[in-house]
């Protein structure tokens, strides 16, 4: 960051020069800034909204005008009188037992109105599949992104200063970072006595017989990395607990109804007393599909009797919000001399991070799609999701589909290359067509795979590129 700050200082010098050089007659804009300009919101109805089929037609967004005017209201654009700002202290260790948390010094800091620890959360667990994730870790922290305490103060800066005064005593525990090591019997365990928390098997035909009958067998391990969604709007929440014991929560959450259930569970109060207000979301991509700091902010508001806002820093986003599962994918594929796939055997290991989140959906979709869009009589997919002491992996665009696509398409290229077959041709030989059966036995309709491939290849002149 140091270089950036220097850059800006240089820029500022330029600014000063520019200011001096500026012509005094610059025309001011005629708009009083306290009353932002508004324009009627009836947008020209685009053809696409009036006609079917809409494919190929330009559509406009109903909210496009407010976006362009800078008047769309995201959570951070909302404020309330006497509102406090919350910040969360995160674990110092990837795996540790929290021996004690002392917030007394933090409470004496200027501007601090309330603090919160995991022991104060009525039901300290949530999750869309398993409720294995704490709101604030207590007594075990399972990755560096786990929150351990929170502060609400009159300014963000006061809240940040107070975080430094919270004393947490940890007893570090052995941690596991590699999903393959996590599979081993003597590896440190993140929860309970095994790190495998969900698995899936898909079986069709006889994969061993298919491999035995093949002319060539290709084996390779593929792996993918973590990916953070990086929504440009960080996770944001405002909560306001009223005198009647009801709480209003403004949240950037995508899966709303589910979120309200998790809130009712963690706060131990009926849903009818929780008013959850969905705001415009500044990018989700799957990363805002479950609650994060909402219960913390709600409880801080309950303790302080004031509205509380919490905006994740970009650092919080990376360490604490969910990310895409890294996959380790072992592919063994048998083909005949023409490159037709006779059997495919796949083992997937999903690095799940510290908590389950949306792994159930990811392992399901990843497994079903793992053999690829190809007609294969003999298939075996075995998939395991394992806990590690790392950032929690969850929903992200495609739920496992992009990871396996990388593996099976890379292997198709390997096979084409080894057998001297055109990469397009090998896909056309094996690809799904109308009424093909998916690996789970579903008869597929409206399959335009081959037509799409041929058309695309024509459009970018695949043949010429090959020549």
């Amino acid at each position: 960051m140091a270089t950036r700050i220097k850059d800006v200082q240089t820029n500022v010098e330029d600014l000063v020069k520019a200011r001096e050089a500026r012509a005094p007659s610059r025309q001011p804009l005629a708009v009083p800034i306290d009353q932002p300009v508004t324009f009627p919101l009836e947008l020209p109805e685009s053809e696409a909204r009036l006609r079917t089929p809409a494919v190929g037609q330009r559509a406009t967004r109903p909210d496009g005008r407010l976006h362009g005017l800078g008047q769309t209201q995201y959570i951070d654009d909302i404020t309330f009188p006497h509102m406090l700002h919350a910040k969360i202290l995160r674990s110092e260790y990837a795996h540790a037992r929290i021996v004690s948390i002392d917030t007394s010094e933090a409470e004496k800091m200027p501007g601090v109105i309330a603090t919160l620890t995991g022991a104060e959360v009525p039901e300290n667990s949530f999750g869309p599949t398993y409720q294995d994730q704490p709101i604030l870790a207590y007594p075990i922290a399972r990755h560096r992104g786990d929150g351990v305490a929170a502060v609400a103060a009159t300014t963000e800066q006061f809240a940040l200063d107070a975080l430094e005064k919270i004393k947490v005593e940890y007893e570090p525990l052995p941690a596991v970072y590699d999903p393959l090591e996590a599979l081993e019997e003597d590896s440190p365990k993140v929860h309970g006595d095994t790190n495998i928390y969900t698995s899936k098997v898909i079986k069709r035909g006889d994969v061993e017989a298919g491999l035995a009958a093949s002319d060539h067998v290709f084996e390779r391990r593929f792996s993918t990395q973590m990916v953070e969604h990086v929504p440009l709007e960080p996770h944001a929440t405002i909560a306001s607990w009223d005198g009647n014991g009801r709480v209003s929560i403004w949240s950037s959450l995508g899966r709303f109804t589910l979120g309200r259930e998790d809130l009712a569970r963690t706060l131990q109060m009926p849903q009818s007393r929780i008013r959850l207000i969905g705001t415009v979301v500044g990018g989700n991509f799957g990363g805002k599909n479950e609650i994060t700091n909402e219960p913390i902010v709600a409880l801080l508001s309950k303790k302080s009797r004031r509205p509380v806002k919490a905006i994740y820093s970009r650092g919080d986003e990376f360490v604490s919000s969910t990310i895409r599962h890294p996959f380790i994918m072992d592919y063994t594929t048998g083909v005949d001399s023409e490159g037709r796939i006779l059997a495919r055997k796949i083992r997937l290991v999903l690095d799940g991070g510290a908590y389950c989140s949306w792994t159930g959906t990811t392992i399901g979709k990843g497994s079903i799609l793992a053999p690829g869009p190809y007609n294969i009589e003999n298939v075996l997919v075995e998939a395991y999701a394992v806990y590690t002491n790392k950032t929690t992996t969850g929903a992200m665009r495609g739920f496992g589909a992009p990871q396996v696509c990388f593996a099976y398409e890379s292997q198709m290229d390997d096979i084409a290359d080894a057998l001297g077959i055109d990469p397009l041709e090998i896909r056309l030989r094996n690809g799904f067509s109308e009424n093909s059966l998916s690996p789970t036995g579903q008869s597929l309709q409206s399959v335009a795979l081959k037509e799409s491939l041929t058309q695309a290849a024509d459009r970018f002149r695949w043949k010429e590129w090959q020549a």
């Binding site: 500026r22 324009f39 406009t60 967004r61 929504p231 709007e233």
Partner: protein
Amino acid sequence: MLVELTVNGESRSANVPPETTLLKMLREHLGLTGAKLGCDVGDCGTCTVIVDGVSVNSCLMLAGRADGCDVTTIEGLATADDLHPLQQKFEEHGALQCGFCGPGMLISAKNLLDNNPDPSVFEVRDALAGNLCRCTGYTKIIEAVIEAGEMMSQEPANV
């Protein structure tokens, strides 16, 4: 400390703590929430505003350093009569999805067109390099900027 600025043509001032960034001053002290906080470290461009003719990441500039400067934010782009050509073209092209990058993106684009009304695609990409968008893939944004430039050179009175 007292900071005095000209914002979108109006004199504004506020008493702010010395660590206050220009972004924070605009958003929290002057009520101009158009510029957004996306990263607070100069990486994303959602906080872009024009200060004395130069587009800056206002999250990295202390309000005190902008004292006496002329600042243009997204709120100053439209006139009372009309949308700015960039706003029109962004809307027509559906160039924004979640919209969070929009204010910064439009301000960077405005600064480009103010200095270079007929930019090449490469120049547009270069001018917007500091503005990240996670939703759109940029294509429509670039088309919209080019068309807005064409529109502005045809009707200079509109700008």
